[in-house]
């Protein structure tokens, strides 16, 4: 197939066009000083001048809150109505670390009971990722086997060739269909700037051995190092909500006398009352116990369940943390305590 290129201007047009067709489009928007992946609306200021967005593409497939059923209450009883996933979604502007989170999320949402809200949405989704041209000290995708030019989970990888645009790499049938459907927005040539690509795997050296980290976690649950690692943590959910693989949720009802709905809403194991029992007993009363759970779940529990680490090394949690807790540093402290690298 002939080469395909996409310029910034055409990309903005394309995204706004798709959004006008009743398809949900998530793309990078410049808002109040940062770049966020958001649902594109008419007035969205789509912008590509970022090295990484503050949030991940997660909410395109796993919304902050979503209705899972609704009901009517009357003298005769309760009438419940199901919810169907009918909208398609196009996700543009995430990175390989975002796309890599999708197969990871599929595992939990598909574990025996199939959560159609995630899985059907994912089925219908077309994912376009931007290969990275920049990394910072908080990035560590390579330590987990991923790459700044990685293709896992993506349908189309856009590799920058100039300051004006990208070359498309079609990775799946969905990707090919998408390129065909919107072919008028792509072009067959684009002037190439030799300075690209600027980044490859070797620019992000591997910093720890995940196997050593897991074996330390499995044998040091009560180790005082956890308090040291989590000393600054003040138990908010900023890290959880910007993370592409964090998936904890709450289920709540919102109703009037005669009708209501049940929703699935984002929640976080780092928040103080996440595990609070009705008896008021809290298995994770202290901040470091909750932080331990976050690391344990990502680097050990998920491996025990699905043979995969629930982290893609994007570093967003470290960047978002106001208390300056850094996950790379935490994992390296563990690796060091284990005597390894």
């Amino acid at each position: 197939m002939a080469d395909l290129f996409l310029t910034h201007d055409k990309a903005k047009e394309l995204l706004k066009h798709i959004a006008s067709q009743g398809i949900e489009v998530f793309g990078p928007v410049k808002k109040d000083g940062s770049h966020l992946i958001e649902k594109i609306k008419d007035q969205s200021e789509i912008d590509f001048s970022y090295f990484i967005t503050a949030n991940s593409i997660k909410e395109a497939l796993f919304p902050r809150y979503e209705k899972i059923l609704s009901y009517k209450i009357s003298q005769e009883g309760i009438e419940v109505e199901d919810v169907s996933i009918d909208k398609s979604v196009v996700i543009f502007g995430g990175h390989p670390c975002d796309a890599a989170s999708i197969p990871l999320m599929e595992k939990i949402f598909g574990w025996d009971y199939k959560d159609k809200f995630f899985l059907e949405r994912r089925e219908k989704a077309v994912i376009l990722t931007l290969a990275c041209e920049e990394a910072d000290k908080d990035c560590f995708c390579t330590s987990l086997g991923y790459s700044p030019r990685g293709e896992i989970g993506s349908d189309i990888l856009l590799e920058r060739v100039s300051d004006q645009g990208w070359k498309l790499k079609l990775l799946s049938e969905k990707g090919k269909e998408f390129a065909k459907k919107y072919e008028t927005y792509f072009q067959s040539t684009l002037e190439v700037d030799k300075k690209y690509p600027k980044l490859s795997d070797k620019d992000i050296p591997v910093q720890f051995d995940a196997k050593i980290v897991k074996s330390w976690i499995d044998t040091h649950f009560e180790d005082p190092l956890w308090e040291k690692i989590a000393s600054n943590c003040w138990s908010c959910a900023a890290c959880t909500y910007v993370c592409p693989t964090c998936h904890c949720f709450d289920i709540t009802d919102d109703a009037t006398m005669w009708s209501g709905m049940r929703t699935k809403n984002w929640d976080a194991c780092t928040l103080p009352y996440f595990t609070l029992h009705a008896s008021q007993h809290n298995p994770r009363e202290q901040h470091f116990q909750r932080y331990r759970q976050r690391i344990n779940h990502k680097y050990s529990i998920y491996v025990n369940l699905f043979n995969a680490i629930s982290c893609t090394g994007c570093g967003r949690c470290s960047r978002a943390c106001g208390a300056k807790v850094n996950i790379l540093e935490a994992v390296k402290m563990i690796a060091s305590a284990a005597g390894g690298k």
Partner: protein, 284 residues
């Protein structure tokens, strides 16, 4: 049923029994006969019960799987959902999602053995399911012992059934109250059972662990003190079973709330042996 894993069955309350001033048992029947026909579960499993408008709450299924067409749940009024549930009447609709979790390995490990049940307070609810499951298939098991106690007479649940088990010749029931729990102010008009804490009463009961399986449920402190006694009496840790309770929301292993280390109470539990429990990290 729809393909929506969060969609509950709609159940009608067909019977209400107030066990204690703050504990109630509901008998729930399926509103759709096709649901009643297809429904099956095993002893130890739990479900999420909805009070529409209030939310969902997790209780075990307290009735045995040997009885078809209905399920029972016993709950204590503690918060938002249970308060709304308590304010319901016969004929009202309660949602039910389940059965979830694993079950007691009755076929694999209980057949042909002496079964000893130990429970405290409302902890009798998950155990009651197994008790009736076993009594409904009585000749598959050897001795059946039940040691049950509560803080006061008022706190005893399933009072009628305790009498039934007491009267049965093929069951050895030992009931007890905490010291002072037999006062008239607790509704007690004469107590012919033991006085003392469950672990101590178990120790003096003469029950032995030979060829035995134990099922323990109750407040965490009671379980903590009972497990060593069972060991002393000769019950192997692999043959001592209990249930874990943790805060739940989805019940199907996705919301990330109930795990104790890698043990997801809703998927790998709630039933586990004392040997397995000893391996778990202290976060439950």
């Amino acid at each position: 049923m729809s393909d929506n894993v969060y969609m509950p069955y709609l159940m009608k309350i067909s019977d209400i029994r107030d066990e204690t001033p703050d504990t109630r048992t509901y008998r729930l029947e399926f509103t759709r006969p096709e649901d009643a026909e297809k429904f099956d579960f095993k002893a130890g499993q739990f479900g999420l019960y909805s009070a529409f408008g209030g939310g969902e709450s997790t209780f075990c299924v307290a009735s045995p799987p040997t009885r078809k067409g209905y399920i029972e749940c016993t709950f204590r009024v503690m918060g938002r959902v249970t308060t709304q549930l308590r304010d319901m009447n016969i004929g009202d609709i309660v949602g039910f999602r389940g059965p979830y979790g694993n079950s007691f390995p009755i076929e694999e490990k209980f057949y042909g053995k002496n079964i000893t049940f130990i429970a405290g307070g409302i902890g009798l609810a998950p155990v009651r399911c197994v008790i009736w499951n076993i009594l409904d298939l009585r000749d598959k098991f050897k001795d059946v012992n039940i040691v049950y106690g509560a803080r006061t007479f008022q706190d005893l649940v399933y009072k009628d059934e305790i009498k039934e088990w007491e009267d049965r010749k093929d069951v050895n029931l030992v009931k007890t109250l905490d010291p002072g729990g037999d006062k008239a102010e607790y509704g007690c008009s004469g107590w012919n059972g033991k006085m003392g804490f469950v672990p101590a009463v178990l120790k003096e009961s003469g029950i032995k662990g030979d060829n035995g399986v134990a099922v323990v449920c109750g407040p965490p402190i009671m379980i903590k003190l009972t497990l060593p006694v069972l060991k002393e009496l000769g019950f192997a840790e692999e043959n001592t079973f209990t249930t874990l309770e943790n805060k739940m929301k989805c019940g199907i292993g996705k919301c990330g709330r109930c795990n104790v280390g890698s043990f997801y109470v809703c998927k790998h539990g709630p039933v586990l042996s004392a040997a397995e429990l000893a391996q778990l990290p202290d976060e439950y």
